[in-house]
Every structure is written in structure tokens, then in C-alpha cells.
Symmetry: C2
Subunit: 340 residues, 2 copies
């Protein structure tokens, strides 16, 4: 104990937490002793009483490598980190690949190491939201969580883009271009809400023209997009446009189109979704796509979380916002490049 500086624990505690009511001279002396001893407060003890620790978990339940390949995640995480760090909170990343890992992650989350959690890339039947709800840990979701029919859950706060509206705009653009046979490559709509919403947007515009043979489901990967494009081309050689539900899939689709000798946009117009600069700007031709502010959504998630947990360092964790918080849907817009 640094009380060898000649004062009581309380005073040391006050100095460490920069509380008022300590003579400057005493504070100075205490700080000296702290430095000299290399003293670091034991935060388990501190947390036991304050119920706070200025760390926020960022949990992704997805194969790590899918995450690492996906520029979407990179931007999203950047936004989250910026905002968290800006508020003085430490982001702690947890990946969740195997079912066996759930109990341990649950223990960590419930163990009071973090004040809140940011979750994303959840599968439809992921047990994590339920676990966290039971723990009572403040949480914000990235992307609207899919809730199974009949499942009773507390309201879940999320941040998402206007996927349906963005998809509508993309498809309307294709229609305005005079395209007659507009296909779509979707995301895994059995697993992710964004895939459902983008497909709904496509249907909103095309109505009865959206026949099943124009719709091919893929998995948000590049290869999945390529395979889906090939299948579509085999089935409907007459198609003259495709709305692809992600840029990564679109880059795969463009490659197949090129291999099959179809010119883009002359023969087939292509619109993507995401507007990920490293992809959309470098494809051949550059991709017309639906822009969403991914980094901004990440920041928003962090801000929403703080409005539930209270700012780091401010009072007890129990200080949850009184005004009920709602989810946020951010706007999208179509960015015209060369592919459509």
C-alpha cells in the first residue's frame, strides 16, 4: 500500500481518481510515491465497489476469417473504436466461432469486466442476445437482429442502414435505365436481416416481375457472388441487369460477367450495395452502388451504448438513461459510377 506516503487509503484513492478536496501539496507527494512504486490500482477491487470499469466488449460471432476479409467489418470496427476511445472507454474484442465458446464468453461478459457490449454479425438463431439479456448487460446491436417468430424478447436497440430503401433506389435506377430483365443476387436471407431487407426492396419495385428464376441467394462472399452470377446467366441468358446485395459479391459477379463475354454496363448493368471504397472504386468497371455510412454507424452504436450505460467514469453503472432509447436507421444513397 502506497500509504507509506504518510496519508490514508482514502486520500490516496482521492488522488488517483482526481477528486477534489485534497491539498495540492499532499496530492503531489502521493503522486510521487505512486510513480516511484509503479503502483497500479487493482481494478477488480475497484470494480467490485464501483460497478464500472470503462471497458466495452465488441462481440462478433462469425468465423474470424470472414471478418478479416470483409472491408465492411474493418470500417465498422474503426467507427466503433474511434467513438469508444473518444469517450475514454477501452474496446475489448471477442470473437465467437465455435459453439463451445459461448459459455466462456458468457462468463466473461457476465463477470463484470465490461460495462456494456456491442454485438454484430449474429446468426438468426444465435444464443448470445438471450444470454446477454439475462445478464442485464447494456447492449447495442449492429444491424437489426432477426427475431424468430413467437420468440419473446425485450426490445433490442440497434443501428442499421436503410437497406430496403437503398435497394429500392438501386432497382428503380435500373428500371429507369430501361432494363427489362433485372435479376438479383441476395445475401443469406435466412440468417441476416440486411439480406431480407434488400430483397424486399427489390421486390417492392419489381412486384410481379420479380420471378423466382431471377433471384439467386448467396452468402455475402466474393465467391458466392460469382457462383450466383453463373447460375443466373445459365438460367436467364436474357437478363440485362443485376442488383447485387453487396460490393464483395458484385466484384465476383463482374468477373464472371467478363469471363462470359458480357459487357458491363452495355449488356448487363450492375448495381452493388455498401460502397466500400477499396472494392467499388477499383472494380472494372467501377461499381455503381448504394452508399451507407458504415463508420458512422459504428460510432452511432457506441454513442447509443453510452446513453444506456452513462459516460465512462461517471457515477455508477446503474445510471442507465431514463428516457427510453430507440434504434436508429441511417439513410443510404445511390452512388453512380460506370457499371450502371
Amino acid at each position: 500500500m502506497a500509504h507509506r506516503s504518510g496519508v490514508s487509503k482514502s486520500t490516496v484513492s482521492r488522488v488517483i481518481n482526481a477528486e477534489p478536496g485534497v491539498r495540492a501539496e499532499v496530492a503531489e507527494r502521493v503522486r510521487g510515491v505512486i510513480d516511484q512504486l509503479g503502483y497500479v490500482p487493482n481494478s477488480a477491487a475497484r470494480q467490485l465497489v464501483t460497478r464500472r470499469n470503462n471497458a466495452i466488449a465488441v462481440v462478433a460471432s462469425q468465423p474470424q476469417n470472414r471478418l478479416f476479409i470483409d472491408p465492411f467489418f474493418d470500417s465498422h470496427l474503426r467507427g466503433i473504436r474511434k467513438e469508444l476511445v473518444h469517450h475514454g472507454a477501452q474496446p475489448v474484442l471477442l470473437f465467437l466461432e465455435e459453439p463451445e465458446e459461448y459459455p466462456r464468453v458468457g462468463d466473461f461478459l457476465g463477470g463484470g469486466h465490461v460495462d456494456g457490449a456491442l454485438l454484430f454479425s449474429l446468426r438468426a438463431d444465435d444464443p448470445l442476445p438471450g444470454m446477454i439479456e439475462r445478464l442485464g448487460l447494456p447492449t447495442v446491436f449492429g444491424g437489426r437482429p432477426l427475431v424468430r417468430e413467437g420468440e419473446r424478447v425485450r426490445e433490442r436497440v440497434y443501428v442499421d442502414a436503410d437497406n430496403r430503401g437503398g435497394a429500392r433506389e438501386a432497382v428503380r435506377h435500373l428500371v429507369a435505365l430501361g432494363r427489362r430483365h433485372i435479376a438479383t443476387i441476395t445475401g443469406p436471407y435466412d440468417q441476416e436481416a440486411s439480406a431480407v431487407d434488400r430483397l424486399d426492396g427489390y421486390r417492392d419495385v419489381l412486384l410481379d416481375d420479380a420471378t423466382p428464376d431471377l433471384i439467386e441467394r448467396a452468402d455475402y462472399t466474393r465467391k458466392g457472388g460469382a457462383d450466383a452470377m453463373a447460375a443466373l446467366l445459365d438460367r436467364r441468358p436474357d437478363l440485362d441487369a443485376v442488383f447485387v446485395a453487396s460490393d464483395l459479391m458484385a466484384s465476383g459477379a463482374l468477373q464472371v460477367l467478363r469471363e462470359r463475354g458480357r459487357r458491363v454496363p452495355e449488356d448487363v448493368a450492375v448495381v452493388g450495395f455498401d460502397d466500400l471504397a477499396p472494392i467499388a472504386e477499383t472494380t472494372d468497371p467501377p461499381l455503381t452502388t448504394v452508399h451507407q455510412d458504415i463508420e458512422g454507424m459504428g460510432r452511432l452504436m457506441a454513442r447509443l451504448l453510452f446513453s444506456r450505460t452513462g459516460e465512462p467514469g461517471e457515477g455508477r453503472a446503474a445510471a442507465v438513461a431514463e428516457h427510453p432509447l430507440s434504434s436508429v436507421v441511417t439513410p443510404t444513397r445511390l452512388v453512380l459510377r460506370a457499371s450502371a
Copy 2:
């Protein structure tokens, strides 16, 4: 408190920690109450007394996006996670981008949330190792940490590949092929030991033939490799081979070679380093490169760490291994493909 199950705290504690000396019937009843209440032990309190918490920090002080693009990191992290999870420890990722983040990361690390740390991607002058040493947190480094001259540090345990030996083998292969003017594109040898070692291996073989105009420093990125290749070609149009210190840089170099009309391997033979499947197997032509067991190195790091901290759940954290631990250097081997 779950003591409404009619027993004392002690007994509940025993049940939770699966300690012997509890009547099966009582244990059963307690477990029932626990489930029913959804009780999760507060690990801050537990940790305060046990000094353990079965979580290990994985710390990377690198711009997040460099990490996310680098398949090396992906494999490395996969190995680490596998081993950690296998031992029942929770991996906790911390990124470190801005200098302002160091104090907070230090607090988290020193705060007793984790039993040990795995560090990598450290810059030469990174303050992190020093900070952690002062905290007394058991640590293992990924890649030999560069120590500045005159700096006094405790011995640092690391896991690294035989970079120098691998480089030697690569360059010898080029020599055996009859190449006369063998250039090299290096990593940032002012920052990373692996870059230093690979350059040393190159020099070991070439001796006086390794003139400065054949050596070009880059930064382990694809673009850096491309730029370096261009500079080399401008300076030494007569070069007929290049040893490139990473696959990512090699892929950039190959592209420049192609653009400049040099055939590989006929005009210029190329050998890389890393043997990252997603790169080396898909370049045109496929890359001859030095293989290292990246995932295995990750696992090894975790194992070494456990030999310092003791296995998760086993006694107190203080139970550090008595036998002094040493660093490990894993072997490399040349994988022949088409580029050399």
C-alpha cells in the same frame, strides 16, 4: 445470493467450483437454484481473492487496417485462439493505434482482467513491453522484439521463425539456378526484427555481391513491394532474380514485373517469404516461397504463456513455472512453385 437454496455461501462456492466434499444430493439442489435464478458469479469478487480469471490479452500495436488486410495476422491469430480456447482461456483482443491509447490499455492490462498477454507487431520503440514488464504480467512475444542498444530489459520470451535460415535457403536456391544479379526487397528493417534477419540471411549467401543498389527497403505491404520492384528495375535493369521478404510484397513485385514485360521466371526469378496460401498459390505464376508455420507459431505462443501463468483454473496466478522458459525459433522450408 443463491443461499436461498438453504445452504451456506461456502457450499454454493464449492458446488460452482466443482470442489469435492459436497453431498451429491445437496449439489444437485444448489445447481437447480442457480439455473433457476440465472445466477452468474461476479468474477471481480472472485478474482479479487483468486487472482485469476482465465482470460488472456492479445495485443497488437498496429493500425487496425494493416492487420485486417494481412493474412499473416489472420493465421497467427487463429493459432493463438485455438490454443487458448483449448486450454479454457478467453482471448481478449486489444488494438493499439494512437499513442493516447497506451495509458488506457496499460490500465486494462494492469487491472487484473487478464492473466497474461500475447504481444506482437511491435515497433522498435514501442513503450508497451516496458509497461507490461513493470506490471509483472506474464507475456510472450510474437516475433523477436527489437531491443535498442543499451536498453536494459528482462529477458523476453518470444516465438519466431528461422527468418535468417529461411532467407539463406531462398537465396541459395536462386544462386543454384545460375542467377547472377540477385536483388532483394526487404521489410522495414528499422522496425522489425524479421526484416533484419531476412536481410542478414540474404547477405550471408551473397557476401560482397550484395551491393547496396541491389537492396531496396519496403514496408511489408503490396504497394510497397510494387514500388520497390520498380525502383530496382530502374536502377539495375540487368537483375535476373529477386528475393522478396514477404509474399504480399512479392505479389506487388510480380505485377510490376509483368507490366514491364519481364517474364517470370525466365527473365527474373522471384522467391517470396511466408507461404500464405491465399497469396502464394494464386499469383501468376504461383510463387516459390519460404514456408513458415504461422498458425503453429501462434499456438506455441499460447503454450509458452501457459507454462508461465499455469493452466487456467489451476491454483493461483502466482504459480509461475519454476524452470526458466526460453524462446522458440521454428524451422522454415522452401516451397517450390513456378516463380523460381
